[in-house]
C-alpha cells in the first residue's frame, strides 16, 4: 500500500461511517413524513403519488386530536410554570453567592437522571396512597401529570438561564446600580434582558420536552384524556393506514416551529 492510499483509506472509512450515522438519524422521521403523504393505505416503494387525505381524515379521530390539544396545553402550562420557578432559581444560583451552590445545582438538575417510568410509578403509587389515607382522589386528575411535567422541565429552564447569566457580565449590573438604578430596575432592565437567549432557549426546550414526553404520561395520563404521545403509542397497532403518520408529522411540525421560534426570539433584540 502506498503512503497516499494508507492516508486516504482511514479518511474514506470515517466519511462512510459518518454518512451511515447521519442516514440512521434521518431515516425514521423521513419514513414517517413520506408515508403520511401516501395516496394508498399500503406503503409503496417507490411512492405512486401524493395525497393529503390522511390529514383531512384526522378530523374523524377525536382521540388523536384531543391528545394534540391536551399535549399542547400541558406543554404550555408546564413550560410557563417551569419559567416562573426556574428563572428565579437560576438568578439565585448565579448571583446569590450561596454556600453549597454546586450541590443546589445538582439537586435542581437531578430530575434529568430519573428514569421516567420510575417517576411515573412513584407518583401513581403516591396518588393511590393519598386516596387510601385521605380519600383525596388524585389519580386520573391533571395534578400528578402536571407536577411530573413541571419536574422534568425545571432543569431545562434552570440550566439554560444559568448558563446565560454566567456568560453575561455582572459588571454591567454593578454599573447600573452605581448610577442609581434600583435593584428591581437593574433586574428588569439589565440582568433579565442579558439572559434573554437562555430564557428563550430554556422555556422552548421545556415546551418541546413536555410535548414529546411519553414515559411519564403513560401511567399518569390514562383514562379518557391522554397526551398525544400516549394516543400515538396506542394507535400504532390499531391503524393499518397513514393516519398515525399524519398526526406524527404534525408533532414533528410543532417541534420544528418551536425550534425556529427559539432561534428567532433569542436573537431578536438581544443586542442593543
Amino acid at each position: 500500500m502506498s503512503d497516499r492510499t494508507s492516508r486516504r483509506l482511514p479518511r474514506l472509512a470515517l466519511g462512510l461511517g459518518a454518512a451511515a450515522a447521519f442516514a440512521v438519524l434521518l431515516a425514521s422521521p423521513l419514513a414517517v413524513i413520506l408515508y403520511s403523504f401516501s395516496p394508498t393505505a399500503a406503503l409503496e416503494v417507490p411512492p405512486t403519488g401524493f395525497s393529503l387525505r390522511w390529514y383531512a381524515g384526522l378530523a374523524g379521530h377525536p382521540r388523536l386530536l384531543d391528545g394534540l390539544w391536551t399535549s399542547l396545553a400541558l406543554a404550555a402550562v408546564a413550560s410557563g410554570a417551569a419559567a416562573l420557578v426556574g428563572v428565579p432559581a437560576a438568578l439565585a444560583l448565579a448571583r446569590g453567592s450561596l454556600r453549597g451552590r454546586e450541590a443546589l445545582v445538582a439537586v435542581l438538575l437531578s430530575p434529568l437522571a430519573l428514569p421516567g417510568l420510575v417517576l411515573g410509578v412513584g407518583l401513581l403509587t403516591a396518588a393511590s396512597l393519598t386516596a387510601r389515607t385521605t380519600g383525596l382522589q388524585l389519580a386520573g386528575t391533571a395534578a400528578p401529570l402536571l407536577l411530573a411535567h413541571l419536574l422534568i422541565t425545571i432543569p431545562w429552564v434552570t440550566r439554560n438561564v444559568l448558563a446565560s447569566l454566567e456568560s453575561s457580565d455582572p459588571l454591567l449590573e454593578e454599573q447600573a446600580r452605581s448610577l442609581g438604578a434600583s435593584p428591581l430596575a437593574t433586574l428588569f432592565l439589565v440582568t433579565l434582558p442579558g439572559a434573554r437567549p437562555g430564557i428563550v432557549a430554556g422555556v422552548i426546550s421545556a415546551f418541546v420536552i413536555s410535548f414529546g414526553n411519553f414515559a411519564l404520561s403513560l401511567l399518569l395520563a390514562s383514562g379518557r384524556t391522554v397526551t398525544l404521545p400516549v394516543a400515538i403509542f396506542e394507535a400504532v397497532d390499531r391503524f393499518q393506514d397513514p393516519t398515525v403518520a399524519a398526526i406524527s408529522t404534525v408533532t414533528i411540525a410543532v417541534t420544528g416551529i418551536a425550534a425556529v421560534a427559539a432561534e428567532r426570539l433569542s436573537r431578536a433584540g438581544s443586542t442593543p
Partner: protein, 288 residues
C-alpha cells in the same frame, strides 16, 4: 466578614430558590420515598398496600422472570452502547472538523431527533423495518426476498441505537473539539502509522466524551419503554416493560416498586461513575 448587604443578598437568593426546590422536593422526593415504603410490603398479585416491612419483594427480584429479564436488558443496553460508539465516532470526527454553516447544518441534524417524541421515532422504525415496510418493499422492488426486522431483537437494537446516537455524537464531539489536533500531526510526524496515531493519541483524547456518552446511552436504554414495546413485540422483555406489566396486569405494586428502586439505583450509580471518570480523565488529559 459578611457585610449586611451580603447577608441580605443571600436571604433574597434563598427565597428565589425556594419554589424550585419545593417542586423538585415534592415531585421527586415523595415518589421515591413512597416507592421505598411500598417496596417493603409483601409482594404478590393484587397485593394490598399495607403490611411489612419485609424484603420479600427484593428477594423476589432474584427469581424468574426478573433475573433473566435484567440480564437481557443489560445485554441490549451494552450492545446498543457499542453500536452507538461505532456510528458516533466517525460522525463526531466529521463534525469536529467542520466549520461555519456546514457545522451548523450537521449539528442541527444531530440535535433535531432529540426534539421529536421517542414514540414518533420508534413508530418511524416500525414503518421501515416491517416486512411490508420501506425495507421489505424496497427489497421486493429490486427482486429480493422480503425481509422484516419488526418484532426481533435486531429491530429493537437499531431503533434504540438511533434513539441515543445524538447523545454519543454530542459527547464525543465535545471531547474532540477540546483536544489539540496538532498532537495527532506530531505523532504522525514522528513516524506513527495512522492506526497507531488513532489508537494511542486520538482515542485516549476522546475517552472522556466516550465514557460520558456511554453513561447516557446505558441509562437511556435501561429506562426505555416506547422503543422496545413498539419494535420488540412479545420477542423482547425488558426491565421497564416488566415493571409496567406488574402494575397494569398483576397489580403487584410492591414488586414494581422494588424493581423500580433497583433500576433507579443502577441508573444513578452508572451516571455518577461515568461522569466522575470522565471529569477526572479530562482533568489529566486537558490539564484541568
Amino acid at each position: 466578614m459578611d457585610s449586611p448587604g451580603d447577608r441580605r443578598r443571600r436571604r433574597a437568593a434563598a427565597l428565589l430558590l425556594l419554589p424550585a426546590l419545593a417542586v423538585v422536593g415534592v415531585a421527586a422526593a415523595i415518589p421515591v420515598g413512597v416507592l421505598v415504603r411500598v417496596s417493603l410490603i409483601p409482594p404478590g398479585p393484587l397485593a394490598p398496600l399495607e403490611g411489612g416491612p419485609t424484603l420479600a419483594a427484593f428477594r423476589g427480584l432474584l427469581a424468574a422472570p426478573w433475573a433473566e429479564v435484567a440480564g437481557g436488558t443489560a445485554g441490549l443496553a451494552l450492545a446498543t452502547t457499542a453500536l452507538t460508539v461505532v456510528l458516533a465516532f466517525p460522525a463526531a470526527w466529521v463534525l469536529s472538523r467542520a466549520t461555519g454553516s456546514i457545522r451548523s447544518v450537521l449539528t442541527l441534524l444531530v440535535v433535531a431527533p432529540l426534539l421529536m417524541s421517542v414514540v414518533v421515532r420508534a413508530y418511524g422504525w416500525t414503518l421501515i423495518l416491517g416486512a411490508r415496510g420501506f425495507l421489505g418493499e424496497s427489497l421486493a422492488a429490486v427482486g429480493l426476498p422480503r425481509v422484516g426486522l419488526l418484532h426481533t431483537g435486531a429491530g429493537v437494537l437499531i431503533a434504540l441505537t438511533e434513539a441515543f446516537l445524538p447523545f454519543m455524537i454530542l459527547a464525543l464531539t465535545a471531547s474532540l473539539d477540546r483536544s489539540d489536533r496538532s498532537l495527532v500531526d506530531a505523532a504522525r510526524g514522528l513516524g506513527a502509522s495512522p492506526a497507531s496515531a488513532f489508537l494511542r493519541v486520538t482515542l485516549p483524547l476522546a475517552l472522556p466524551g466516550l465514557v460520558a456518552g456511554a453513561g447516557f446511552v446505558l441509562v437511556g436504554c435501561l429506562s426505555a419503554y416506547a422503543t422496545p414495546a413498539l419494535l420488540g413485540g412479545s420477542a423482547t422483555r425488558t426491565l421497564v416493560l416488566e415493571i409496567y406489566e406488574r402494575i397494569t396486569i398483576h397489580f403487584d405494586w410492591p414488586a414494581a416498586a422494588a424493581a423500580s428502586l433497583v433500576l433507579l439505583a443502577a441508573a444513578t450509580a452508572l451516571l455518577t461513575a461515568t461522569a466522575g471518570f470522565s471529569r477526572r480523565r479530562s482533568a489529566t488529559v486537558f490539564g484541568g
